[in-house]
Assembly symmetry: C2
Homo-oligomer: 145 residues x 2
DNA sequence: TCCATTTATATCGTGCGCGATGTAGTCGTG
DNA sequence: CACGACTACATCGCGCACGATATAAATGGA
């Protein structure tokens, strides 16, 4: 009759909490991003490029914490949409560098309003959100180690 | 020169934190689940069925917070793997009820060890984890409203 | 220089995840 | 009972996400 120390019910698992919350947030972004003709991962990629334009596919993959085989087709779609250009490196022709176009840079003006909607939708105040981002990021980095 | 109240850098966004953490946790599960021949969403579904066997596709979709059009093929794969059976309801033939097989029920014995590995990997103590699950779940439910 | 190794990206196959749409079964109201 | 509305799943198309594999370029000795 000892207490069960580790939950095995999905509702109590950190994995399911993150999994379902992540999808819920993505769904919340979807209508706004659809108006811009973007998917959620495409928007995330642009967000990193707004801070550091001209990243290589590998550099972007590190920042987005995902494999390059996911990013290659994603970058091709962003290129087809006219948001970025892709060009092989000159001194190292294995690398592909991604640069924002005028159009891709211009999308940045929509970011504050999108962020505002999401922050408002969470029902959290900014201090709570900041703490949550910190905890979740710490957990992610621990899992990745 | 006022401070920017809302972050637009991906690293500071709750969406990216959840997105990258969710994928990191899924990757952490992957090797253990591969040994069991399961994917992560399949494992989550089994977890719900261990608590409530005989759920309908719709009931499972509510609990997993995802659409039935995602679950239908997922359930077919679990059926093909021999973990569940699918059967139309008798009084309402539109519904499909999912029942664990002996094999599907037996997978439950692996859950505690899997949970233990994940909990250990987070680097969080149980109280922190519980608080984090609570916060993330609250955020998810607010976004879903 | 030559060649094995490593590195950066690309390709392929599988399984989600969801919006849009289809279909069969059920319900409600006259 | 008829019939339109609704409901529960299923199907389809597209875009991730990743493991496995391929390919070409760079690197590092012997």
């Amino acid at each position: 009759m000892t207490a069960e120390p580790l939950p095995t019910k999905a509702d109590d698992l950190i994995c399911f909490a993150l999994y379902s919350a992540s999808h819920a947030v993505t769904r919340a972004y979807a209508p706004m991003l659809r108006d811009l003709g973007l998917t959620y991962p495409q928007y995330i990629a642009l967000t990193f490029l707004w801070v550091e334009d001209g990243l290589s596919v590998g550099g972007l993959s590190e920042r987005m914490k995902m494999e390059t085989n996911t990013l290659t087709p994603l970058m091709k779609r962003l290129e087809a949409l006219g948001h970025v250009t892709r060009a092989r490196g000159k001194q190292d022709e294995r690398q592909v560098f991604v640069h924002l176009t005028e159009r891709g840079r211009a999308m940045q003006v929509h970011a504050p309003e999108i962020t505002r909607c999401i922050v408002e939708g969470t029902g959290f105040d900014l201090a709570e959100l900041e703490a949550l981002v910190h905890s979740v990021t710490r957990l992610r980095d621990a899992m990745t180690r």
